[in-house]
Symmetry: C2
C-alpha cells in the first residue's frame, strides 16, 4: 500500500497527475529512510532535512511531522513490514505548462515501504569519468529528484566490472558515491569526509557517523579531498540510510589500505546498529 | 486530452504510476514543440534529438515516428488546437526501489497540447548568481527532466525585477537562459553562440537559426563566450521552440547594443516564421 496525499491506497489505484511538476521538471525532493521494528528511528532528522530543502525551493510541506510519522506507521503496518526501506517523495504538485511555478501549489506527498535489500558486500569502486558533481549548484546539497548523473556513474561502474562509482566534483576533488557519502580513515586513525560545499549531500547517516565517531573519541575533519588521498588512506567506507556503513576495498586498480574492512569501519557499523536499535 | 502510452485519455483519467522513474529519479527526457495549423513542422528534428538522448540513457522509445506524429495530430484535434505548444515526455517507466534500472523497462510516453503562450516581449535579464551549469556532465546536453537549476535562476531574475536569467557554466562562461539558447550579434554582423560542450542544450531552434542565418549570408561562430562579450555585442537574443527569437535588451545594468531589438534578430525572426509556416 502507498500513502498518497492523506490516503492509504493500493499501488494499482494510486494516481500521479501527468501535470505533476515532479515528473515534468524534477521539481521536488525525497528521503530514503530505514525502518526498524516498525519505527523510523531517524525520522525527525529526515523530516528536518526535507523541510529545510522544501523551504529553499519554496515548496510547502502539507503535513506536520506527527501526521507523517503516523503515515509511515500506517504504510509499514499495511505492508506487514517491520524492518524496511521507506521512501518519502515531495513534489510541488501539478502546474500549468512551463517553468514558472503556480502561485498556490498543491504539493504531492507520497510514502511507500519496501523490503530491506540484503546488506551489501564490501565494495570495489571506480572513479567515474563519465560525469562530475556540480559544487557550484546549491541543488547538489539538497536531495532533489534528479539522479541521472548517479545513474550514468553507476552504469560506468558496472561496465567496468565494479560495484560502485565515486564521483568527483568539477574541481576534480572527491565528492561521494552514487547514493552514499564517502569517508576516509587516515593513517593516524582520524576520519575525513568532504563538506557539503564540495557538491555533497549532507547525508543523515553521514551526520550520525560523525557523531558516533566523536563518541568513540575519533575526530572527523570535513575538508576538500583530492583523489590522491585515497592512496594514503588506511581505509575508506560509504554511508547511507539503509546499510549504514559499507566498506570500500578498492578504487580503480588501487587497493585501499589492507584491502579488507578497516576495524574502525566495523566499530562504527556496530555503533550505528546499536543506535538504530537493529538486533 | 492527453496521449498516454497509446491511448487518448482525459486528463482526469490519465494516471502516472507512483513507481515511475521519471517522477522518482528524473529518469527521462522531454521535448517542447511548436504546432502550426495542426502540424508540427520540426517534429522530425525533435524526435531525432529525443531518440539520440534516449539511446545515450538506454531508454527504449516504444513508438516509431509515424505513430508519434499521429498521436500529435490526435491530441491537437481532440483539443481543437491548431497553433499550440506540444510537450512530449519520455521516462524509463516504473521500476523497483533504488537507482539500478529494471532490465526490461516499460517506458512511459506522454503527449499533451497547450494553448500557445503570448509572444514574449523583449527581455531584460540578469546574470544568475545562484547556480551554474555543469559543462562536465553530459546530461546538460540532453533535454532531461531536471529543471530545478533553471527554476532557481528564474526565481532570482524575478526577485531582481528582471524577466530572464542567463546562466554561466562552472568555468564562468556564458551558457544559456533558463529555457532558451543565447546568441550574440557581433559588431561585424556575425553571430556567436556557445557550443554544447559549454554545458548547453543543442536547441532545435538554435540549430535552425544557425541554418537560416547562413541562408541570409550571416556566419555563426560556436565558441566559448566570457560574459564580457555581452558588453561588446551589437545585440543579443534568445531562441526557443515556442517563440522562435526573443530579443534581449539588457543584462544586469548593461544595455546591450542600442537597447532595442537588433535588425538582424528581426530578420531571423521573420525567416523563422516563414520556415515554420506561421501566418
Amino acid at each position: 500500500m502507498l500513502w498518497l496525499d492523506g490516503d492509504l491506497v493500493a499501488p494499482s489505484a494510486a494516481r500521479i497527475d501527468p501535470a505533476d511538476r515532479g515528473l515534468l521538471l524534477g521539481d521536488g525532493l525525497f528521503e530514503t529512510m530505514r525502518a526498524v521494528a516498525g519505527r523510523v528511528p531517524l525520522l525527525d532528522r529526515h523530516l528536518a532535512r526535507l523541510r529545510a530543502g522544501a523551504e529553499e525551493l519554496g515548496i510547502p510541506v502539507p503535513y506536520d511531522d506527527v501526521a507523517i510519522a503516523a503515515a509511515s506507521a500506517a504504510v509499514l503496518a499495511a505492508d506487514r513490514l517491520a524492518d524496511a526501506a521507506l521512501r518519502l517523495t515531495l513534489t510541488r504538485g501539478p502546474g500549468p505548462r512551463g517553468l514558472p511555478p503556480p502561485p498556490a501549489p498543491r504539493p504531492t506527498l507520497l510514502l511507500a515501504a519496501f523490503p530491506l535489500p540484503s546488506p551489501p558486500l564490501p565494495a570495489r569502486a571506480i572513479l567515474a569519468t563519465v560525469t562530475r558533481r556540480n559544487e557550484r549548484s546549491p541543488l547538489l546539497r539538497l536531495k532533489t529528484l534528479s539522479y541521472l548523473d548517479s545513474l550514468l556513474a553507476l552504469r560506468e561502474a558496472q561496465g567496468r566490472g565494479a560495484d560502485e562509482a565515486l564521483l568527483l566534483n568539477t574541481a576534480g576533488r572527491l565528492a561521494c558515491a552514487t547514493t552514499a557519502n564517502l569517508f576516509l580513515i587516515e593513517p593516524d586513525g582520524r576520519l575525513a569526509t568532504p563538506p557539503p560545499s564540495e557538491g555533497v549531500l549532507p547525508g543523515i547517516t553521514r551526520g550520525l557517523i560523525i557523531e558516533l565517531a566523536d563518541e568513540l573519541g575519533v575526530a572527523c575533519v570535513e575538508e576538500p579531498l583530492p583523489p590522491a588521498r585515497l592512496r594514503s588512506a588506511a581505509g575508506t567506507f560509504l554511508t547511507g540510510s539503509l546499510a549504514g556503513i559499507r566498506p570500500l576495498l578498492a578504487v580503480d586498480d588501487w587497493t585501499v589500505g589492507a584491502g579488507e574492512p578497516h576495524p574502525l569501519a566495523l566499530r562504527l557499523q556496530a555503533a550505528w546498529r546499536t543506535r538504530l536499535g537493529i538486533a
